[in-house]
């Protein structure tokens, strides 16, 4: 039991559980399962972008990708326009979204490397370019996703939302990448001490490049899925994922100073964030109180979590 409590990800799961119990307690047990189904779908989106952000943050202080929202919007816009609501073009759209993501990641890394500027500023300035590209390409149209894709993204598989199944598979894969591959070990090593990692022969720049490109790829994929789920690409569709991707990573027990990361915590944190909003909605609070409480609870969780992580 104490070994379990020492896991960095356990707190986000406990927080999510507490909030769920709060909802179920308030409604008298009604709709407890329905809430979980909805939470799994929306948490899947949070987790997908947070996975990329987690690897980036783990590279060390100053590493944050602020271009995720713009990347999602651009990838979704391009994919929806290419597919033009035709079922047989779904794979083309998916490939386009992934390619856009890869390109965004490559541009971000090129800026970081060539201009030797902090990643925060590099991804911030590039996000302006991507956002503009999305606006220009989209021309204010809202193109629906192909029928089959929309059905898939809102459908269920094995009793849980099919999107959650997809993202669970991706999470499992990236969990293995983080803990079992040389690449994952190198990311952690760079985050813990870049100088030592370099002296130990870690190809620091190649790992950093791979990480930013992967983050872009996941953001592109997330944009594709969000657009498929919500009936098309919208120019502000990525906005909420800027803050939530960072919040999910940190609440999930990943060290914001880099060097320590875990995948299970992302799911706990994503479920927690969604359930928190649901709970405040269930209590019938207005938008103002909901925002204030969300902010205060995020800070409270960070404060509670900080006490135990100072002495690893």
């Amino acid at each position: 039991m104490t070994a379990l409590l020492r896991q960095p990800w356990i707190w986000s799961w406990l927080a999510a559980l507490a909030v769920w119990l709060g909802i179920v307690g308030f409604t008298g047990g009604q709709g407890g399962m329905g809430v979980i189904t909805a939470a799994l779908t929306f948490a899947a989106f949070y987790v997908l972008v947070a996975l990329g952000q987690m690897f980036v943050v783990t590279l060390g202080p100053g590493n944050v990708d602020l271009s995720i929202p713009a990347c999602m919007t651009l990838a979704a816009t391009v994919a929806m326009k290419l597919m033009a609501e035709a079922n047989h073009l779904i794979l083309l759209g998916l490939a386009a979204a992934i390619l856009v993501g890869l390109a965004v990641g490559a541009v971000n890394y090129a800026l970081i490397r060539l201009l030797s500027i902090p990643p925060i500023i590099a991804t911030l300035s590039s996000s302006f370019l991507f956002q503009s590209a999305a606006i220009w390409y989209n021309r204010g149209l809202r193109i629906k996703p192909p029928r089959a894709l929309a059905d898939f993204s809102t459908g269920m598989a094995f009793g849980i939302p099919s999107l959650a199944v997809v993202v669970l598979a991706v999470s499992l894969l990236l969990h293995l990448v983080l803990t079992r591959t040389i690449y994952g070990r190198r990311v952690l090593a760079i985050g813990q001490n870049p100088r030592a990692a370099k002296l130990a022969g870690v190809p620091v720049e190649r790992i950093r490049a791979l990480t930013y490109v992967m983050c872009g790829l996941l953001a592109g994929l997330a944009g594709f899925l969000v657009a498929a789920f919500s009936g098309g690409a919208a120019l502000n569709m990525g906005a909420e994922y800027l803050l939530s991707s960072i919040a999910v990573v940190v609440i999930g027990g990943t060290s914001v100073n880099g060097g320590f990361a875990n995948v299970p915590g992302l799911w706990g944190a994503a479920l927690f964030l969604f359930l928190l909003t649901t709970m405040l909605n269930t209590f019938g609070l207005g938008a103002d109180l909901r925002l204030i409480l969300t902010g205060l609870v995020i800070i409270a969780v960070i404060v509670a979590a900080s006490g135990r992580r100072t002495a690893p």
């Binding site: 060539l114 902090p118 606006i135 803050l243 914001v256 103002d288 204030i292 800070i299």
Partner: protein, 308 residues
């Protein structure tokens, strides 16, 4: 020309280049009223940029300043106008809240990105609570102040110079200012030298809160009414402004004069792009491009510096 000098005049040179380009495209702006209109909105942005600079100076980042300025604008357009005492008390409480945020970050060694991110929800929620629908009315004295028409030099220019000089002398020329900047360069050595890091952080956050309040007040003087989302883009603008002005991300290397110049450059960039009759779709993108170009120039200069 020696690279070090080049580096220090780069922010001012970018501003001058932009100004010349605007004059060339639209000669009518080269007048008292033209400059007034061009630079009006630079004042609140400059104040927000200075607020951001105080935090960057101690290696923190404020992702909530946009929401905070919006909240101040909402309070200024309602309480400060209807019941001035309550308004002043609320604004003072906000500065205190910023100081408290600094204390919390230092005491628990929290990442400022996450704390300010959480607070941005709180500020936004409070703003919606104070002013649920866009509206309100700016107090007359703020309106009068922001629309002053001094002789010869337009008000925004005087205000910008004043802001830059006050912060420059406070932070760059005073002895406690050196400690504050040193705390960004090497917190441990400043602490070993007997200075309280807690006091440093609280001071810096309180200053950031104060300038955030001033920014909101200046903004409401120009717009006359407020809404809860009025200044959300200030978060990114202020970070970009500090960097454009020659500030570094870590190490306490900041420049107040540069920050004000950076804010003015960003404001002018918007007007410049509309004078170019650029497709509005590319307006945001062009701001990003300007940012990237200036940073690229800085790298070239640094390379030359390393060679020299």
């Amino acid at each position: 020309m020696n690279p070090q000098l080049l580096r220090s005049i780069l922010p001012a040179a970018s501003l001058a280049a932009l100004l010349v380009a605007i004059f060339w495209l639209q000669p009518r702006t080269m007048s008292y009223f033209g400059l007034n209109l061009l630079l009006n909105l630079a004042v609140p942005i400059a104040l927000a940029t200075v607020a951001q600079m105080f935090l960057l100076c101690v290696n923190d980042l404020d992702l909530s300043i946009g929401a905070f300025v919006s909240l101040v604008a909402c309070i200024a357009a309602t309480w400060l106008n209807d019941t001035p005492l309550l308004g002043i008390a609320a604004l003072a409480a906000l500065v205190a809240a910023y100081a408290g945020m600094g204390a919390l970050i230092e005491l628990r060694q929290l990442p400022s990105i996450v704390v300010t991110l959480g607070m941005s929800f709180v500020w936004l929620g409070l703003a919606v609570m104070v002013l649920p629908t866009p509206g309100g009315k700016a107090p007359d004295w703020i309106r009068t102040l922001m629309t002053l028409k001094p002789a010869f030099v337009p008000f925004p220019i005087i205000a910008s110079i004043l802001i830059a000089l006050v912060v420059h002398f406070g932070l760059m020329r005073s002895s406690y200012g050196a400690v504050l900047r040193g705390a960004g360069g090497n917190p441990r050595s400043v602490a070993r030298a007997g200075w309280s890091m807690l006091r440093v952080k609280v001071t810096m956050f309180a200053l950031a809160g104060l300038f955030g309040v001033l920014s909101g007040i200046a903004l409401i003087g120009l717009t006359t009414s407020a809404d809860a989302n009025i200044a959300l883009r200030y978060t990114l603008l202020s970070i970009a402004g500090v960097i454009l002005g020659g500030g570094e991300f870590v190490g306490g290397r900041v420049s107040p004069i540069g920050a004000v110049i950076g804010a003015m450059t960003l404001t002018l960039a918007g007007s410049f792009l509309s004078f170019l009759r650029l497709n509005p779709d590319w307006q945001i993108g062009a701001q990003g491009a300007i940012l990237i170009i200036v940073l690229a120039l800085r790298v070239l200069i640094s390379r030359a510096e390393a060679k020299a």
